[in-house]
């Protein structure tokens, strides 16, 4: 039987808006994934450490504070340093269109903006990160 997809949902930086992160976490759990939620006010170091410790397949970063161009690259850099580049990044929050392009060019797998249907997030993760038996 295929291993369940493991997802870390993380809130980097000082941003305290966790409604979306929790809704996504619930949706992924209801869809049968293993979800770990870091809680708020995480540094990139804490997130990368949790991702490796929890042996996740995907990290979802939720950020509404405008600090995404600092936080996303920092998390990705730290995962690379830990030899965990195989852990993919997705994200959401308030991220302007032009930054979405820049983030995806840096290697973020997908940015899910306001109004995203959680079923689309589930489908994307299922399609791209599922383990084969």
């Amino acid at each position: 039987m295929a291993r369940k997809i493991r997802v870390l949902i993380a809130k980097p930086g000082l941003d305290g808006h966790d409604r979306g992160a929790k809704v996504v976490a619930n949706a992924l759990r209801d869809a049968g994934m293993e979800v770990i939620y870091t809680g708020l006010h995480q540094t990139p170091e804490m997130i990368a450490e949790s991702a490796v410790q929890e042996d996740v397949d995907v990290v979802g970063l939720s950020i509404l504070s405008g600090a995404h161009m600092t936080m996303f690259p920092r998390v990705m850099e730290l995962l690379k340093q830990k030899g965990a580049e195989y852990i993919k990044i997705v994200g959401g929050g308030i991220i302007p269109e032009e930054d979405v392009g820049r983030l995806e060019a840096l290697g973020v797998a997908k940015v899910f903006g306001p109004g995203t249907d959680t079923r689309d997030i589930v489908a994307f993760i299922d399609k791209n990160f599922a383990h084969t038996a």
Binding site: L14, R19, N26, H41, A67, T70, P114, G115, T118
Partner: protein, 536 residues
């Protein structure tokens, strides 16, 4: 009638999923007693309004929440808004300021000036209010854990400009309980946080007669996904907790209660919101009188600011947000708000542009000057629907008060995650309702535009802001008398360890240009830091 006339197959519920009857009539308000349940505006139980003349005497304050970039940037926006007819100021701080970090702290990196204005020291506050007379305008500051510090910075700034403490009017949000519940910008644990709040209450009751010490908030609870009843009940429960804390700290209820104020959301369901505000006034007045024995009429008044619901806006077809905001602003006025912020159409994308905030302000001005709704007080009173809904929400709130009491009170309920779970569940259920199209969001799950391009100006915060702020705070530290600053911080530490009122000591720190980060760090060493268990 309903057998022969088919009804649509849609959900006839409020945005909070509350069922609504097709028709309300005399039966719906059986037992309603005008003098007991409604009264006159400005008279107990204040259902119809906190003041006798309401908008016939004075319009609500038009108070747009704003702040971005450097203090100079925001000062420019304040002058713009005042020139365009705004009547009160409202400060939005950036995340480092909200969380107690100076702009050059490692945790501030990438965050300076992005969600609001960066304020590190009284010097920044002086720039923020350059050209503004603090003895003649009131200012609301959305700041919670560090509220004592920003209040001290504001008072120092006023002092420097020749304003007296008894002339300065405004509000600090300073509602730490809702931080643990919803907004999540805490620093210290609950006990020392409540001590700071009662210190502020005591200080203001003698020194700052025109200052609202807390803006007991439901806005953020609602934004986090709660229903209207949860917003109403959790906000008022927090209010009762502050009253009890003030009394436990040895204050007379009438010494501090007149300066407690409230802050509600104006969400999409038009009538549910109006009923909510009316229920809030009635509940607060009754409890303050019957349970807490308040004798001063002003202690019974649920005076409130309202902000239209940010979470109801869409990133798709943002111009539609102007329409949403207009309806929401109207519901707040029909509900008797004392002050109002109307959101800008672009706030799902960025902080408001000048054009967007001007339209938001004009929305209020059109309500005030063109619609005629201000001509009479509480115009919807007596409506079968509104009175039934007001009573229903009051009863539903009372159910929650009982539940919270059973759990041992607000702080205990917070520790158990009660509010957080209620809110999280409501948020998730709403999301599912939208995804199943039980709730329609125009432009998002219905009436979409494929391949939409955003055609409105979007505010950008440049990286230079962070560099400028870092340099500015370093200069403040270099230029001040550092021996004096160190002495005042040491005095603060001793005061925090003891029982003395912290406000005068924080003021002394502010006067010698201690930074916010330094003051918070000193207090953190004594009070510790709060950690939330990450439940979802």
């Amino acid at each position: 009638m309903f057998e022969e006339n088919p009804v649509q197959e849609i959900d006839f519920t409020t945005v909070s999923a509350e069922p609504v009857e097709p028709l309300y009539g005399p039966d719906s308000v059986a037992g309603l007693d005008y003098m007991r349940d409604l009264g006159f505006p400005g008279e107990y139980p204040f259902t119809r309004g906190v003041y006798p003349t309401m908008y016939r005497g004075r319009l609500w304050t038009m108070r747009q929440f704003s702040g971005f970039g450097t203090p100079r940037d925001t000062n420019g926006r304040y002058h713009y808004l005042l020139d365009h007819g705004q009547t009160g100021l409202s400060v939005a701080f950036d995340m480092p300021t909200i969380m107690g970090y100076d702009s050059d702290h490692p945790r501030a990196e990438g965050e300076v000036g992005r969600c609001g204005v960066a304020i590190d020291s009284p010097r920044d506050m002086e720039i923020l209010f350059d050209g503004i007379d603090l003895s003649r305008i009131t200012t609301s500051m959305t700041i919670n854990a560090p509220a004592s510090i920003l209040l001290a910075f504001y008072l120092c700034t006023g002092e420097k400009k020749g304003a007296r403490f008894d002339q300065m009017g405004g509000t600090i949000q300073n509602d730490i309980l809702k931080e643990y519940i919803a907004q999540k910008s805490w620093i210290f644990p609950p006990e020392p946080s409540m001590r700071i709040i009662t210190d502020i209450m005591a200080f203001c009751s003698s020194q700052l007669p025109k200052w609202n010490t807390i803006s007991i908030s439901g806005y953020h609870i609602r934004e986090a996904g709660s229903t209207a009843v949860q917003e109403l009940a959790f906000t008022l429960a927090d209010g009762f907790a502050y009253v009890e804390a003030g009394i436990a700290a040895g204050l007379d209820v009438d010494d501090f209660a007149p300066r407690l104020s409230f802050f509600f959301n104006a969400h999409l369901d038009f009538f549910e919101e109006i009923a909510k505000y009316r229920a809030a006034r009635r509940i607060w007045a009754k409890r303050m009188k019957e349970k807490y024995g308040a004798k001063d009429m002003r202690s019974l008044l649920c005076r409130f600011h309202t902000q239209t619901a940010g979470c109801s806006l869409t990133a798709q077809q943002p111009e539609n947000n102007i329409v949403r905001t207009a309806f929401q602003g109207l519901s707040a006025v029909l509900g008797g708000t004392q002050s109002l912020h109307t959101n800008s159409m672009d706030e799902t994308l960025a902080l408001p542009s000048e054009k967007a905030v001007r339209i938001a302000l004009r929305t209020q001005q059109i309500i005030a000057h063109e619609t005629g709704v201000i001509n009479t007080i509480d115009p919807l009173a007596g409506s079968y629907f509104i009175e039934a809904k007001t009573r229903e929400m009051e009863e539903q709130a009372e159910d929650y008060f009982r539940k919270i009491d059973e759990l041992g009170g607000v702080v205990k309920a917070i520790e158990m995650g009660f509010f957080q779970r209620e809110i999280g569940r409501s948020a998730y259920e709403y999301q599912k309702a939208v995804e199943r199209e039980r709730k329609i969001v125009v432009g998002m799950n219905r009436f979409r535009l494929e391949d939409e391009t955003i055609d409105i100006p979007i505010l950008k915060i440049e990286p230079e802001v962070e560099i400028e702020q870092r340099n500015a705070v370093r200069k403040v530290r270099a230029d001040r008398d550092n021996d004096k600053a160190a002495r005042e911080l040491a005095r603060l530490k001793a005061a925090a360890q003891g029982a003395d009122n912290l406000m005068p000591v924080i003021l002394d720190c502010a006067r010698c240009y201690c930074t916010e980060g330094e003051i918070i760090e000193t207090l953190k060493n004594v009070f510790g830091e709060y950690q939330e268990p990450p439940i979802f």
